[in-house]
C-alpha cells in the first residue's frame, strides 16, 4: 500500500439491479505509472472508469482519486484529472476552439496555447465544428481536452480506437511526456497490443472481476516460444510430458510442436536433442499471444491456465504469430 497512489480502488463493486457489473476490484496506480486496463468488451472496464470519474455511485467499496473519494468529492478530484470517454461525445455545433475555451473556463484556466500545440501535433483542425469531424478526429479532440490542463491523472477509455497508427505514436509520445512529469494514467483497452508499448503494468478484468495484475516486464519474461522439431524417427507425446511450463504439445508421427516459456527451453531442448533432429525451429510469440494464453479465455490468472484459442475472449482477432519469429535454426 502506498499512500501516494494516485488511484486506489478497494473492493469496488457495482451492481445494476441484479446484474453485477463489477465485483470487489482492488488495485492502485502509482505516480509516473501507466496502468493498462484490459478486458473484453462488457467486462467492466467502462464501469470501473465511470466509478473513478464519479459518474456512478459504488454499490460497495471505494474508489479514491488523488486521495479524494471519487463519488463524494468529484469536483476537487477533477481539477487534476483528464478524462477521455469511450465514446467521445462533443457539442455538435461548437468548434474545437470553442470546446477548448469552454472546458478551460470550467477549469478556470487558460489552456488555449497548449491545446493549439497538442492539436497541431495530432494533426487536428480546431476550427471545425465537432459535427463535421470524423471519428478519429473527435477522438483527438477528446484527447486534447483531457490533456491540455496538465492533469496529474489521465483516465482514458480506449483512447486510441479509431486513431490511425501514426497518430497513435504521437499520442504515446504525449503520454510519455505526461508520465515523465510524474503524471499517471489508466489506459483501458480490449487488446494488449494497444497498451503494451506504453503500459508499465496491466490489470485484466473479466466478467466484472480483476483476474490479474502484472508488470508488463514479468509478462514478457514469461513470453512463450513456439518450438517445432522434426525427428528422424517417430516420437510419442509421452516423451515430452512432465516438462514444467511446456504446453500445447502436439506430436504427429515424427513432428513435435509446443509452446514453452523461456525458463523451460533448456529442459525441452535436452529432451529434443536426446533424439536425432532433422529440423528445429524456435520463435518468440508476440506478447499478445502470450497474454491470451494466460488470460484469454477463462484462465484463472495464475499463469497455469489452459491454452486459449487465439482471439477468443478478447473479442478481437489477434495477428498470426509468424511475425514474431526472430530466431531460427535448422
Amino acid at each position: 500500500m502506498c499512500a501516494e497512489a494516485l488511484v486506489r480502488l478497494d473492493g469496488l463493486t457495482k451492481r445494476f439491479g441484479r446484474n453485477t457489473a463489477l465485483e470487489g476490484v482492488s488495485f492502485g496506480i502509482e505516480p509516473g505509472e501507466v496502468f493498462g486496463y484490459l478486458g473484453p468488451n462488457g467486462a467492466g472496464k467502462t464501469t470501473t472508469i465511470r466509478l473513478l470519474m464519479g459518474l456512478l455511485r459504488p454499490t460497495a467499496g471505494t474508489a479514491r482519486v488523488l486521495g479524494l473519494d471519487a463519488w463524494r468529492q468529484p469536483v476537487e478530484a477533477h481539477r487534476r484529472v483528464g478524462y477521455v470517454p469511450g465514446e467521445p461525445a462533443l457539442y455538435d455545433r461548437l468548434t474545437g476552439h470553442q470546446h477548448v475555451a469552454y472546458c478551460a473556463r470550467l477549469r478556470h484556466r487558460d489552456d488555449a496555447g497548449r491545446a493549439a500545440k497538442l492539436a497541431a501535433r495530432l494533426g487536428l483542425d480546431l476550427g471545425k465544428p465537432a459535427r463535421t469531424l470524423s471519428r478519429g478526429n473527435r477522438q483527438k479532440l477528446a484527447v486534447v481536452l483531457a490533456v491540455m490542463s496538465r492533469p496529474r491523472l489521465l483516465i482514458l477509455d480506449e483512447p486510441t480506437s479509431g486513431i490511425d497508427p501514426l497518430v497513435q505514436q504521437v499520442f504515446h509520445e504525449i503520454l510519455r511526456e505526461h508520465t515523465a512529469e510524474g503524471g499517471s494514467a489508466l489506459f483501458s483497452s480490449h487488446v494488449l497490443g494497444e497498451v503494451e508499448r506504453v503500459a508499465d503494468r496491466i490489470g485484466v478484468v473479466r466478467a466484472g472481476r480483476l483476474v490479474a495484475v502484472e508488470r508488463l516486464q514479468d509478462l514478457a519474461a514469461r513470453s512463450l516460444h513456439r518450438v517445432r522439431a522434426r525427428f528422424a524417427e517417430d516420437v510419442s507425446a509421452t516423451d515430452f510430458a512432465g516438462l514444467p511450463g511446456v504446453r500445447d504439445i502436439v506430436v504427429e508421427e515424427r513432428a513435435l510442436s509446443c509452446n514453452a516459456p523461456q525458463a523451460a527451453l533448456d529442459a525441452l531442448l535436452k529432451r529434443i536433442s536426446a533424439r536425432r533432429v532433422e529440423d528445429f525451429e524456435c520463435a518468440e510469440a508476440p506478447l499478445e499471444e502470450t497474454f491470451l494464453t494466460y488470460y484469454g479465455n477463462g484462465g484463472n490468472g495464475t499463469g497455469t491456465g489452459t491454452r486459449a484459442a487465439a482471439g477468443s475472449g478478447t473479442g478481437e482477432p489477434v495477428g498470426a504469430g509468424d511475425d514474431g519469429e526472430d530466431s531460427r535454426a535448422s
Partner: protein, 266 residues
C-alpha cells in the same frame, strides 16, 4: 465565479429563443390585427355569454368583456394561447436541460470538468427561467407596442404584472420537467408528465366553479396562481407570486437532490 454552464446554455439557446420571440410577436400581431374588426361590437360578448357555461369557463376568463382591449386580450391570448406557448418552451427546455445533455452524451464531458452536479442543475435551471422570462417579456412588449398601432390600448404596468405571472406559470412546470429530467435522465418522460399535469391543472382551475372536487383543488393549480386574480386588471398578486416561487424553489431543490444521487449511464 462566472456562471459558465448558464452562459453556454443560453448561447446554445440563442437561435431558438430568437425564433420563439419572433413567433410570439407574430401571434400577438395577429390578435392585434383582428382587434379593429371586433372592437365596439358588443355582440361578441353576447355570443360568449350564450356559450354553454362549461365551454365559457374553459376558454374565456369569466366576466371578461370582449369589446374592451383588456377583455379581448384576456380571452384571446391569456386564457389559452399565451400559457400554451410559454409552457411548451419551459417544459421542453427543462426536460432537455439534463436529459438532453445525457441523450447526446455530452454530460460526461461536462462533469469531467471540476463542476459540481448541483451547479449544473442550478445553472440549467437559471437558463430555463431566464429564457421563460425573456419570452414573457417579449410577449408583453409586443402587446403594448403592437396594441398601440391599432388602438388596442393596454396599461403597461398591468401587462408587465400579467407577464410576470405568466412567466412564473411557465417556470413552475419547466422546473418540474427539470426535476424529472435530473432525477431520471429521461427526456420523454420529463416532458410528458409536466405536460399532462399542466392540462390537468388548467382544467381544474377552469372548471372549478362547476365541479365540486375541482373547486377544492383549485388553489393548488398553478393556473389559479397565474390568472384567477385577473392580473391584467388588478396587477400583481403577491401571495400568488410567493406560492409560485416557493413551488419553484422546492422543485429546483428536488432537481439538485435527484441529480446528485443518480448514476449517469454511459
Amino acid at each position: 465565479m462566472r456562471p459558465n454552464v448558464l452562459l453556454k446554455t443560453l448561447r446554445d439557446q440563442a437561435r431558438g429563443l430568437a425564433a420563439w420571440s419572433v413567433s410570439l410577436a407574430l401571434i400577438v400581431a395577429m390578435y392585434a390585427a383582428v382587434w379593429p374588426s371586433i372592437r365596439g361590437q358588443p355582440s361578441m360578448s353576447d355570443f360568449i355569454d350564450q356559450m354553454p357555461e362549461a365551454f365559457r369557463s374553459m376558454f374565456a376568463t369569466t366576466g371578461a368583456d370582449m369589446s374592451t382591449p383588456t377583455g379581448y386580450i384576456q380571452i384571446e391570448l391569456l386564457s389559452f394561447m399565451g400559457p400554451i406557448a410559454v409552457l411548451i418552451y419551459a417544459v421542453g427546455t427543462g426536460a432537455g436541460a439534463i436529459g438532453g445533455e445525457e441523450d447526446r452524451h455530452t454530460m460526461d464531458l461536462l462533469l469531467s470538468n471540476p463542476v459540481g452536479r448541483w451547479r449544473v442543475v442550478l445553472e440549467k435551471f437559471l437558463a430555463m427561467a431566464a429564457g421563460t422570462f425573456l419570452l414573457a417579456a417579449v410577449t408583453g412588449a409586443a402587446l403594448v407596442l403592437e396594441g398601440r398601432l391599432v388602438e388596442l390600448d393596454l396599461p403597461a404596468d398591468k401587462v408587465a404584472a400579467t407577464m410576470l405571472h405568466l412567466a412564473l406559470l411557465g417556470v413552475v412546470f419547466g422546473t418540474l420537467a427539470l426535476a424529472l429530467s435530473a432525477a431520471t435522465g429521461r427526456t420523454g418522460l420529463s416532458r410528458g408528465i409536466p405536460a399532462a399535469l399542466a392540462v390537468l391543472a388548467y382544467v381544474v382551475n377552469a372548471l372549478a366553479p362547476l365541479v365540486d372536487v375541482f373547486d377544492r383543488l383549485q388553489k393548488l393549480s398553478p393556473f389559479y396562481q397565474y390568472i384567477d386574480h385577473d392580473p391584467l386588471r388588478r396587477g400583481i398578486a403577491w401571495d400568488s407570486v410567493l406560492v409560485s416561487v416557493a413551488t419553484i424553489a422546492v422543485l429546483a431543490g428536488a432537481a439538485v437532490v435527484g441529480f446528485r444521487r443518480r448514476d449517469i449511464p454511459a
